[in-house]
């Protein structure tokens, strides 16, 4: 049976609230947690060697040969020395191999033909050997000569650029608003390239059975990835199966099929044996998508009442030529604050650097962060409390389209956060001190657009329990757990009686993980499947589905109760198909929150240490308070990273990534992350699918870095406009202030 819902109308039923099992929302542990901490959750790179792997295979290993120019054509590739390394079977050059990962949801192959080099570090060929070590050694011995006809573009600030028509917008007269403003701001900011830096590298094991290929990979969107892989290989999508049951973090870098997967599949076909290709950490930085650096200019006009009358937000980002993705910096600027006169300018420079793509909340992560830094400067100029400035400028409806908001929790989050954090204790810069350390507080709003995606989930109920199946993935976010909870709730089962199976393209097509779409989209599909099964049970019980109560494995209608074990003699199965429809067309849907941070700035060295952070978030129904909290903790942590240390550096002469391991690309580790506090404002957003839920995965990083940067100013009076705020930049500011 199929239960298909086109989401044309908001769902105001709040059915989950009427269910009896009372497991949705509870902070239960991850259902796959024990597997992960005991090593039994087999990740892609372990598929060939793990004792726990079902795929243990006599497999070959592939390592990429790396381009050492940023632009050119391969004139010759001499593999004699490499082939002489014992154990080396092949140095594979094949027109099907791809240069860089596909963009998320591309459903087609990324650019092929490795003889054209478009960035330093691009794969040129795959060395395949009996051992990883032999392949790696041989890959270094391949001699490549290049022809270059043009100068590579390595400086995003100087490279030729485009102004994509659809990404520009204007209303009213911003220049006039700025002229007439009581207080105005015109400031330029920058953020560097950033790496996804997932703990698990890209890895893929491929093998063929006849004309059908199976790929165990590390992917966020396996159904889309299967189509991308099929397109690259030139075979029908039905001939590709992708398995990705456990993923060690994606952060966007595993959205689209990537070079290692295509190479493993091609090599396995060519050599007739399973082939494993794993990216080394350095290649992870060179090949996986980066978040584009941004240059941003923010112009703000404020009237005498502290109301914004004008907002200008310009951004310059970069990508390879021909890539349609450009970091959507201003995504939330369109609707977060009021102001009649608005202008968005979005410029894309064409460079020969690592391909840019989606990384952790593309758009808002850097766009909201910079905008919230600018607001802090404006508040200071206007003599307004930064919190008050935000509260005065929350619009009633989308200020550009006049569409109503599906829910608007920003003011509540700001007020709640300020109370909990003790914002009223904030002092002027330089007034709070502990020895050499100056203390300060900062805040910022959190905003992230909310989206839904089509998703299919199958639920099968037997007398023993339920099975949930979808090609949806769990990239560490908690999908296994929340789908288990939703089905347990709807079918009246203890969560341990529900088994969720994900990350297999042979299963009904889930949405995949990305853009915070997973929980609400796939959760809605699981809900629909469960409603269908409830109807079947109700029919057997002889009552309307609405009157059926399922709890602890028993079905109750009126005064009749029966055990499901006895009632369900044949498995009851249903597929829920959820499809976004007209419901979200006429409204603006977003998640909301507020960040507060306290930092200490060393007045001698310019070092910054975050002392505490607090976030308040609203994202509709919270499906599991623990996994949702973990998502927000992660986002806030990466906000610390963006504010203080993350910076992917390309050499401006040669184009290679300089910071290409985790010793040089700094992300916050334990000593950098203080006690973080997360609070949720529970709401029911009837536009959030059948669960009244919205995505929570990316909200935590949106704006959190700004709270840190703004706190630095409050501590010591230094404004850092070019992230990250490393000690040298803070020190420069301290020196300029005569400290």
């Amino acid at each position: 049976m199929t239960a298909h819902l086109v989401f044309d109308e908001p769902d105001k039923r709040n059915r989950l609230d009427a269910m009896a099992q009372e497991v949705v929302g509870r902070p239960i542990d991850r259902s796959e947690g024990a597997l992960k901490v005991s090593g039994r959750a087999v990740y892609a790179a372990e598929q060939a060697t793990s004792l726990w792997s079902e795929k243990r295979a006599e497999c070959l290993y592939g390592v990429f040969v790396r381009a050492t120019v940023p632009l050119g054509r391969v004139a010759s590739l001499a593999s004699g020395e490499a082939r002489a390394v014992p154990g080396v079977l092949e140095v594979l050059q094949d027109p099907r191999l791809v240069r860089h990962p596909a963009q998320g949801m591309a459903r087609k192959s990324p650019p092929q033909d490795l003889s054209e080099v478009t960035y330093f570090g691009q794969p040129l060929a795959l060395v395949v050997a009996e051992s990883f070590e032999a392949a790696r050694e041989a890959a270094r011995l391949v001699r490549v000569e290049y022809e270059t006809s043009a100068e590579a573009e390595l400086d995003p600030a100087q490279a030729p650029s485009e102004l994509p028509e659809k990404k520009q917008s204007a209303q009213g007269d911003l220049e006039a608003a700025l002229r007439e403003a009581a207080v105005s701001l015109d400031a330029s900011y920058s953020t560097p390239s950033m790496a996804a830096a997932a703990m698990e590298p890209h890895a893929a094991l491929a093998w063929w059975e006849g004309d059908r290929v199976t790929l165990c990979g590390a992917y966020q969107m396996v159904s889309q990835n299967a189509e991308e892989l099929a397109d690259a290989l030139g075979i029908a999508p039905g001939k590709v199966r992708v398995l990705s049951p456990f993923i060690g973090g994606g952060f966007g870098s595993k959205l689209g099929i990537a070079p290692e997967a295509v190479a493993a599949a091609v090599a396995a076909r060519t050599l007739g044996r399973p082939v494993m290709v794993t990216l080394a950490r350095q290649q992870e930085f060179e090949i996986a998508h980066r978040r584009s650096e941004t240059g941003q200019r923010v112009r703000l006009a404020l009237d005498a009442d502290g109301r914004l009358t004008g907002i200008g937000h310009e951004a310059r980002v970069s990508n390879l030529a021909g890539e349609s993705f450009s970091e959507p910096v201003q995504q939330a600027t369109h609707f977060t604050y009021r102001g009649e006169n608005r202008q968005i300018r979005h410029e894309v420079a064409r460079v020969n650097l690592t391909c840019a793509g989606s990384v952790r909340a593309p758009g808002e992560a850097v766009g909201v962060t910079i905008f919230e830094m600018a607001l802090d400067e404006l508040a200071e100029k206007a003599g307004l409390d930064p919190l008050e400035l935000r509260l005065r400028n929350i619009p009633e409806e989308d200020p550009e389209t006049d569409k109503p908001f599906t829910s608007h929790m920003l003011a509540e989050a700001l007020r709640d956060g300020a109370d909990r954090f003790g914002w009223s204790d904030r002092r002027a810069p330089g007034e709070r001190r502990q020895g050499e350390w100056l203390l300060g507080m900062g805040m910022a709003s959190a905003v992230r657009v909310n989206m839904l995606h089509k998703a299919r989930v199958r639920v099968t109920l037997t007398g023993e329990g339920a099975r949930v199946e979808s090609s949806m993935t769990d990239i560490g976010t908690g999908t296994y757990t929340i789908l288990t909870q939703i089905v347990a709730e709807m079918l009246g089962l203890a969560p341990d009686r529900v088994r969720t199976i994900l990350g297999d393209t042979d299963l009904p097509e889930g949405s995949g993980s990305g853009g915070s779409i997973g929980a609400a989209s796939n959760g809605s599909a699981a809900f629909l499947a469960c409603e269908e099964i409830r109807r079947q049970i109700a029919a057997q019980m002889g009552c309307p589905e609405e009157e059926l109560t399922l709890k602890d494995g028993r079905a109750t209608c009126g005064n009749r109760t029966r055990d499901l074990a006895e009632l369900v003699t044949e498995p009851l199965s249903a597929e829920g198909h959820f499809e976004p429809g007209k419901a979200l067309k006429g409204v603006r849907s977003s998640t909301w929150g507020a960040h507060f941070a306290e930092v200490a700035v060393n007045e001698i060295t310019g070092e910054v240490r975050v002392r505490r952070m607090l976030g308040v978030f609203a994202a509709g129904r919270i499906l599991n308070e623990k996994t949702a909290r973990s998502q927000c903790l992660g986002g806030m942590t990466f906000g610390i990273g963006m504010a203080l240390m993350e910076e992917m550096v390309h050499d401006r002469r040669f184009g290679q990534v300089v910071s290409r391991d985790l010793a040089n690309y700094h992300i916050p580790a334990h000593a950098d992350v203080p006690a973080l506090e997360v609070h949720f404002l529970e709401e029911r957003d009837s536009y959030g699918g059948t669960l009244q839920a919205k995505g929570i995965g990316e909200l935590g990083i949106c704006g959190s870095g700004a709270a840190v940067i703004n706190a630095i100013h409050n501590a010591c009076g230094v404004r850092v406009r070019d992230l990250p705020a490393t000690p040298d930049k803070v020190l420069e500011g301290l020196c300029a202030l005569g400290r």
Binding site: R136, E137, I604, F654, D661, A663, D672, P727, L731
Partner: protein, 327 residues
């Protein structure tokens, strides 16, 4: 990775003799060497494991300490005698690497670790350390972490150790056994070399030489400070670090031993700077003059220019603290 032979030395004599064979490297904790081998930067034909030699003890010697070459960094940092009499060393060790690395890394291995210059780490970039005469691709590149003192046109790399900086300020001595069994002692400050035009030669060790111990002289009641400025609180190499070992007598600085990390190809000591402090009553003016001397030949690459004012500030702060709590 290139194939290599693995051998275990059963005596120092055997170790030094075997090490005379070409392309032989001693293996201690392996925390740096094995990484470099995976990356194709180090390509030894033979690894000679010295972990089973009897070099893993810390013993008292003439009022000081003799630290065996294979004593682990975490054990050294936690040793009660080190914590009591050489706190600068304990603090420096704990400011370096991560808990996991310190559990493996050895005393001698720490001294012999290679620079973290990213151009040294990329075998497709020219590097005079990897290939003498190839040129230095770091110069003109990303130089935020590079040297401001003692660098050359051939190399601007820094030595990454925290431990060695503290040992330099403590006037430690490196005990070295040569093939044939002769032992000699080299001051830590003279152990590492400046790059000059031979940056691939990093220490005074001769072929076959084995570090057997590091000897710390008896403490003389000095105040000891270690400060490290870093890009993050967890696992990060020093932008600048300073070890200050200072003894006061009647309101004057009797002795001042200062060593700096993150500034040069070796733990940096400057006898002139120390001499200008000794015998003087502490004052910010004096500290400024010391900083002037220290930095008179400092030369930045642009991105690392900030190290110059940063060093001045951290030197002043360390001296204030070491000379009587004017912090």
């Amino acid at each position: 990775m290139k194939d290599f032979a693995y051998l275990r030395a059963s005596s120092c004599d055997e170790a030094t003799t075997e090490a005379l064979e070409p392309a032989t490297r001693f293996l201690g904790g392996g925390t740096n060497l094995l990484d470099l081998m995976k990356l194709g930067i180090e390509t030894p034909a033979r690894l000679l494991d010295v972990n089973r030699l009897d070099l893993g003890v810390i013993e008292e010697l003439d009022g000081g300490l003799r630290i065996g070459a294979t004593v682990r960094n975490s054990d050294l940092a936690a040793d009660p005698r080190v914590r009591r009499s050489y706190p600068v060393l304990s603090r420096a060790l704990l400011a370096g690497a991560s808990g996991q690395l310190r559990n493996m890394a050895t005393t001698a291995g720490n001294l012999l670790q290679r620079t973290r210059c990213p151009y040294f780490y990329d075998t497709d970039m020219a590097c005079n350390k990897r290939t003498p005469g190839a040129g230095c691709s770091a110069i003109g590149g990303f130089t935020r972490y590079h040297a401001i003192l003692g660098a050359s046109d051939a190399c601007i790399a820094t030595h990454p150790s925290d431990m060695a900086v503290a040992m330099a300020a403590l006037e430690a001595v490196v005990e070295i056994e040569a093939p044939g069994g002769a032992r000699r002692h080299v001051h830590l400050a003279d152990f590492h070399r400046l790059p000059g035009d031979t940056p691939h030669i990093e220490t005074c060790l001769e072929p076959g030489d084995l570090i057997t111990a590091v000897i710390l002289p008896a403490p003389a009641g000095e105040r000891q400070i270690y400060r490290k400025i870093r890009d993050r609180a967890s696992y990060a190499f020093a932008l600048v670090s300073v070890a200050a070992v200072v003894r006061m007598e009647e309101g004057r600085i009797a002795t001042a031993r200062l060593a700096f990390g993150g500034l040069a190809h070796k733990p940096w000591r400057d006898a002139e700077v120390e001499a200008c402090l000794e015998g003087e009553p502490p004052s910010d003016d004096l500290f400024d003059r010391a900083a002037d001397r220290l930095l008179q030949r400092a030369w930045g690459q642009g991105e690392n220019d900030f190290k110059i004012p940063l060093t001045r500030r951290i030197l002043t702060a360390a001296l204030r603290e070491a000379t009587g709590g004017m912090a």
